[in-house]
């Protein structure tokens, strides 16, 4: 999978093509590519998104939330398909609603199938690229390039009506990236794909993020989001509940003790050594007699002190089952307690 051989930023502005300008990728003062300023959206009596303010920087951001949390409304507002009831949504420095010109620089991969089934994959992309204003030759070139990136070039002349679910997903993704947008809004981009293409698309999304594009990926499959990015935006009950790096979010969640699972040759010896530590809140043994699970309020301190007892007890494996996205998601969206048994 190759991206078109595009020049590096600022490596020369060709006269015949739109100018290449250096990107203000990491300037703190630069406006965020996507910004919600106290944006709310309600449908009659139902508040779908409530007073949301967030700046989404370049790179990949995972948009997470349970069903009905407001993810779709968030994406629809971001893509200018809905008008905020209150507040403002700015896309590339312009209001997302009512600024069609901004869509030269935005790619959208909707969750729902949005095709003309009678067209082949290539014609579908060419037709959409024409709407972006490219000439026929450019359309074809870009369409083939995009299909190549999603590994659909071999099926470019097949009618979309005959595509499998995974192929449909990929052609949707291809239409979103074909015009090389700066901002990509992807709604469940890997759903229905086989593992190979799933991995391929995850890698594509990561690469798009590395290139400095702003990619917002909505998904409810947490490990897929985790494979794409560490930066998440968690929407719950119409509000942004958490924003930023998953690990950092986890560290901020003081009310949930951190769980550390340790597999040792002598877990009871390890337990005896650490039971008196003030930062250890509770412990339990696994049923197989090898695992010890400890909960600590201060993980950094716990790990610092663990070195010698771990050597003495013959710790062979250690991990934190609740420092992943799934745990963060669960803690934030439910009031449940973390599982004590190590989940493998």
């Amino acid at each position: 999978m190759t991206m078109p051989a595009m020049s590096q930023a600022g490596s020369g502005a060709e006269a015949a093509t739109p100018a290449a300008v250096p990107a203000p990728a990491s300037e703190a003062s630069a406006p965020a590519p996507l910004e919600f300023v106290r944006a709310s959206r309600w449908y009659s009596q139902v508040i779908a998104l409530n007073d949301v303010s967030v700046r989404i920087p370049p790179g990949v951001t995972g948009l997470l939330g349970p069903n009905g949390a407001g993810k779709s409304t968030f994406l629809k507002l971001a893509s200018g398909q809905l008008k905020p009831s209150q507040g403002e949504v700015r896309l590339l420095g312009r209001p997302a609603w009512g600024s069609p010109e901004v869509f030269h620089r935005v790619g959208i991969c909707p969750e729902v199938d949005a095709f003309w089934e009678h067209l082949c994959g290539l014609d579908f992309l060419v037709h959409l690229l024409r709407l972006s204003g490219y000439d026929d030759q450019e359309c074809r070139h870009r369409a083939e390039n995009a299909l190549h990136q999603v590994a659909l070039l071999d099926a470019k002349h097949r009618k979309i009506g005959g595509y499998s679910k995974g192929m449909r997903q990929r052609v949707k993704l291809a239409q979103a990236i074909a015009h090389e947008p700066e901002v990509l809004l992807l709604d469940e981009p890997v759903s229905g794909m086989d593992p190979l293409n799933r991995r391929r698309v995850i890698e594509l999304v990561r690469r798009l993020g590395r290139e400095g594009r702003t990619v917002v990926v909505s998904s409810h499959i947490l490990h897929e989001v985790e494979a794409m990015t560490r930066r998440v935006l968690l929407v719950h009950n119409g509000r942004i509940q958490a924003e930023g790096d998953v690990r950092e979010i986890r560290e901020m969640m003081d009310e949930h003790p951190h769980t550390v699972a340790l597999r040792a040759r002598d877990p009871r010896r390890l337990a005896a050594a650490i039971v008196g530590w003030p930062n250890v809140l509770s412990m339990s043994f696994g049923t197989d007699g090898e695992w010890l699970t400890a909960q600590t309020a201060r993980p950094d301190e716990f790990y610092r002190s663990l070195h010698q007892p771990a050597l003495d007890a013959g710790v062979v494996e250690m991990y934190s089952p609740d420092e992943n996205l799934e745990s963060v998601f669960r803690y934030l969206t439910t009031r449940g307690t973390p599982a004590l048994e190590p989940a493998r």
Partner: protein, 281 residues
């Protein structure tokens, strides 16, 4: 904040919105329609009234007394365009009744409206399909017949008192084409199925015409003409081409007003129905 490589060309100098951006929306369905044999056959058969009318002009120039049956003045054009209008409706049903319905069903409207297009561009593009079809079977044959008349009977058509025919052809074709096209689109936007929309359009036209006939002949209400869009369009033709029609006994102003109101109503329906996302409350 992490530092990202920006390894792609950033297109910020692209013109804000280009002109005629609705055209790809019109062009693609037309291209697809022209690939269908049935559609092509219908399009070709729509030339029949033109051929017959041109032949009639030739016959009347050779045998002037036959002009008493149907004079080759405005009446001939009015009669021909009446039939052409029927083809216009058929082609609209066949080629454009699914125009918006299919987009609603497939979700393609979302894809359209996530491009650098306005809702107006989308509607213009969609309107282009039935409008061009209607103009192709009304305006083009009308003007061709006029040219044929100029060639076959210059002494007849080069006279000042028939100089209004060409502008009337343009006015009638555009007015009828617009009304039919807007109605087709509005009906299309009310359904998610091209078939249902097509049947709905025909049912609306036929139903209103039946209502008109019942009111006009059953209850002797000559103003019932305004009820039927078909009769309204005919009434406009009667006024523009001075075609005697015993069924149309009211001033052309009322049918024109009805057509204008129907067109505005269709625009309002389209405005309400054409949106990228369906809002469920």
């Amino acid at each position: 904040m992490p530092i990202y490589d920006q390894g792609y060309r950033r297109y910020v100098a692209r013109s804000p919105l280009q002109r005629a951006r609705f055209w790809p929306i019109t062009r693609e369905p037309l291209r697809m329609l022209l690939l269908k044999r049935l559609f092509l056959a219908l399009l070709l058969s729509s030339l029949a009234p033109l051929v017959v009318s041109a032949l009639w002009i030739y016959i009347v120039t050779r045998y002037p007394e036959s002009g008493r049956l149907l004079p080759i003045d405005g009446q001939l054009f009015g009669e021909m365009l009446k039939y052409q209008m029927l083809f216009g409706i058929l082609l609209s049903v066949f080629g454009a009744s699914g125009s918006i319905a299919n987009d609603l069903r497939s979700g393609a409207m979302l894809v359209y409206l996530s491009r650098p297009l306005t809702k107006r561009d989308y509607l213009l593009g969609k309107l282009g399909v039935p409008l061009l079809l209607n103009l192709a079977v009304m305006l083009v044959p009308g003007l061709l017949l006029y040219l044929a008349g100029l060639g076959l009977a210059p002494e007849q058509y080069l006279r000042w008192h028939l100089a209004w025919i060409a502008p009337s052809i343009v006015a009638y074709s555009v007015a009828a084409g617009l009304a039919i096209s807007l109605l087709t689109l509005a009906v299309s936007s009310l359904s998610r199925s091209a078939r249902v929309a097509g049947i709905g359009l025909v049912a609306a036209l036929v139903g209103l015409e039946m209502t008109r006939l019942i009111l006009q002949y059953g209850f002797d209400r000559k103003e019932a003409v305004v009820v039927s869009l078909w009769a309204d369009l005919k009434a406009l033709g009667v006024a523009l081409f001075a075609v005697p029609d015993p069924q149309i006994e009211i001033s052309w102003v009322w049918p024109l007003l009805v057509l204008a109101l129907v067109s505005v109503g269709c625009l309002l329906v389209l405005r309400a129905r054409v949106r990228a996302v369906e809002i469920v409350t």
